[in-house]
């Protein structure tokens, strides 16, 4: 009887997991259609152009997958941290430092591609992990909430990277008419992630898909997934069960930071071929990744699909604007509406985690 009830509950949860994002997407598209109607355009034609612009030609599909790559990694960073009960929002800062570290390693390190690319990816992973660990340390030592520390660290990382590419590490080959180009030097071919095939997306996308599978495996098939979740949700209970919550905190932060850092590396090594000022900050990859993770209810596989959907919205917007004369802001409105619809779930997850941790620290008080 109990087994039957549990099975039904699991089924309902699964249905809820699938339907809620779909309903959110559908409602947001319908509301977006109202906006398109208000500006005097045909929503069906407009959405047709958007879908065609995202997936309708090889170049569009590849652009969508390229844009999805850092979003997937940002989403995974959120999945890792949030599933473990840490509401870290530092993916952006970690991604920025990862992108910068990879661009610098790729530009300045000598050697062939088989050494330079792994070295650049390693530099990005280390940079992301260290920056993530910093917020973990602030949380552990000084009880600085993740929301505050990670948000502030994002700004610091962005301005630090802006300083580097504007001054000491600015493209040394820029001429006087390229002085406003705030970017590092152009990476040589042996330091860039090549396309899978001519005209295809770069290998970073494949690595991102592998990272999705790895994350899914870690959480579903290893004791790390169970322990990390336990350490974040109820450190005392985890300790009672033999789990070192402090160790798990740092492991989770490292893994989350590695994901975000690599996301930045894929962007600088694969898409831009250098670090360009604001390339992570202005695109909001990490935040879109968070939306993707929320849409997928922190499921890595779902995050992959949601990231491609959200990237398609942005990429398709360019074609919609070209052929329908519709402002790109309409796409941003749809994305905003999706975020709005999912925010109730985010608040529920966050408040639940905080309550559980307070209960664990305060001996069960409400």
């Amino acid at each position: 009887m109990n087994n039957e009830r549990n099975g039904r509950r699991a089924l309902l949860n699964a249905v809820d997991t699938v339907t809620q994002p779909l309903i959110a997407v559908l409602i947001s598209f319908l509301l977006g259609a109202v906006v398109i109607l208000v500006i005097g355009k045909n929503p069906l034609l407009a959405y047709g152009e958007m879908i065609r612009g995202a997936f309708g030609k090889q170049v569009y599909l590849m652009n969508t997958l390229k844009r999805a790559t850092p979003i997937i990694m940002g989403g995974l960073a959120v999945c890792v941290a949030w599933r473990s009960g840490y509401e870290a929002m530092g993916g952006e800062g970690q991604m920025i430092l990862g992108a910068m570290a990879a661009a610098l390693a790729g530009y300045y390190l000598p050697g062939p591609a088989m050494l330079r690319i792994p070295a650049a990816l390693l530099a990005a992973a280390v940079a992301g992990a260290l920056y993530s660990v910093l917020s973990g340390w602030l949380f552990e030592k000084f009880d600085v909430t993740f929301v505050i520390s990670t948000l502030m660290l994002n700004y610091i990382a962005n301005y630090f990277a802006a300083f580097l590419c504007n001054y000491p590490l600015r493209d040394p080959e820029a001429n006087v008419y390229q002085m406003q180009n705030a970017q590092t030097g152009k990476l040589p071919p042996e330091a860039t992630l090549p396309p899978i095939m001519k005209g295809w997306v770069h290998w970073g996308f494949v690595l991102a898909v592998l990272a999705v599978i790895l994350t899914w495996f870690l959480f579903r098939k290893t004791s790390f997934g169970f322990k990390s979740r336990m350490g974040g949700l109820n450190p005392r209970f985890a300790l009672y069960g033999g789990v070192n919550a402090r160790r798990m905190l740092y492991l989770v932060m490292i893994l989350s930071g590695v994901m975000a850092g690599l996301g930045g590396a894929f962007e600088s090594l694969g898409s831009k071929g250098r670090y360009v000022d604001q390339m992570i900050f202005s695109t909001g990859y990490a935040w879109t990744g968070m939306v993707a993770a929320l849409l997928a209810n922190m499921n890595p596989l779902g995050t992959l699909a949601a990231s491609i959907l959200l990237a398609g919205l942005a990429v398709g917007g360019s074609t919609m604007m070209l052929n329908m004369d519709i402002p790109l802001e309409v796409c941003n409105i749809i994305e905003g509406i999706i975020t709005l619809f999912m925010s109730a779930r985010m608040i529920r997850i966050a408040s639940g985690n905080i309550r559980r941790r307070r209960q664990a620290k305060g001996g069960g008080e409400a």
Partner: protein, 342 residues
């Protein structure tokens, strides 16, 4: 659940089957940052709109709200077979060069305010430091007894250094013991920080503040109006187009960078069949850069400050720059340049 899934599938299929809107005739795509009220971009948009009536082409403005959308916009414009793709701003350089190499001769590429570094792209750039120097000289001639001057720019870095260097050298040419203070709004369009910085710089003793904050200059202009009511006066300048107006006499002039004229040069050449690839640098002598009341007429002249004598002195400087008598040579990098800062 089944009904919902069916509905969703039908919805997506209907959308996917809708054919693309096709256009006929010549097509021009302009790829740029969000336009808003940024005169640097509105000039281009207005010129493209104006010339569409002359040549009968279809045009689209692709506003890129982030760095990645520059690339997807270029890809879309090429895939949709636009005939001329005009990028405005430094972000366009790399993508224009890359797409021009891929696209072959069928599509023409041009960029404004940068150098694509490609012989397959027509690049139009400016020597803005000439106009900035003129604005600095104007500050010195208009306020010869002041030694503290302010500067409010958009972003700190090599891009804004051209402006700051020109301005400081211009001031120094008239007021050798001048000092400068500077702030940055970190935006091309936010007047709020410019407003605060203007008030701070006034409190620090500045009467003349170089307005280099693009659309954010409105913050400086509003601060000037408010401060005047308290008996404190600051004067500033606009950027790119003539911003002078009778309702705000504290806007003395504008540093002109006529991107609209540049867009016109490119489109005219495109339709005449003589748009030449490579770098074209526009200077004061070309009329693409200059200053309101000095090299071009303005809407309103505050003749109490910009007296006939001041204007004559500034015109002499402009003439010297245009004729090549006064040559401005910028240092290779900001690190090689020092100036008294307070």
């Amino acid at each position: 659940m089944k009904k919902f899934a069916s509905l969703l599938i039908v919805f997506v299929l209907v959308l996917a089957l809708v054919p693309a809107a096709m256009a006929e005739g010549e097509k021009i795509a302009v790829i740029c940052d969000p336009v808003g009220v940024n005169a640097f971009l509105t000039q281009v948009v207005e010129k493209v709109e104006e010339l569409a009536g002359t040549y009968g082409y279809e045009y689209r403005i692709l506003e890129c709200s982030d760095t990645d959308k520059w690339q997807s916009s270029y890809d879309a414009a090429v895939a949709e077979e636009y005939d001329l793709i005009l990028g405005v701003g430094w972000q366009s350089a790399e993508y224009a060069a890359a797409k021009a190499a891929e696209a072959g001769d069928g599509i023409r590429f041009a960029v404004i305010d940068t150098d694509a570094g490609s012989d397959q792209v027509a690049s139009y750039s400016y020597n803005e430091e000439q106009a900035a120097y003129l604005m600095g000289a104007m500050a010195g001639y208009a306020f010869p007894n002041e030694t503290k001057f302010g500067y409010i720019g958009c972003f700190e870095g090599s891009g804004s250094f051209k402006y700051r260097w020109g301005f400081m050298e211009g001031v120094k040419s008239v007021v050798p013991d001048a000092q400068i203070t500077f702030n940055y709004t970190n935006s091309y369009a936010d007047p709020a920080p410019a407003y605060e910085f203007a008030k701070q710089q006034q409190a620090q003793g500045c009467t003349y503040i170089f307005g280099g904050a693009a659309a954010g200059n409105e913050g400086i202009f509003n601060a000037a109006l408010e401060l005047a009511q308290e008996g404190k006066y600051i004067y500033s300048i606009g950027q790119d187009t003539d911003m002078t107006r009778a309702e705000n006499p504290y806007i003395l002039s504008s540093q002109l960078k006529n991107t609209g004229v540049t867009a016109g040069i490119i489109i005219d050449a495109f339709f005449a069949g003589n748009l030449e690839n490579g770098l074209h640098v526009l200077e004061m002598k070309d009329g693409a850069i200059g200053a309101t009341h000095i090299t071009a007429e303005g809407h309103y002249l505050n003749s109490d400050i910009l007296t006939d004598e001041v204007i004559a002195q500034c015109k002499a400087v402009a003439d010297a720059i245009a004729s090549g008598e006064l040559v401005l040579e910028m240092p290779a990098s900001e690190a090689d340049y020092t100036f008294p800062i307070f």
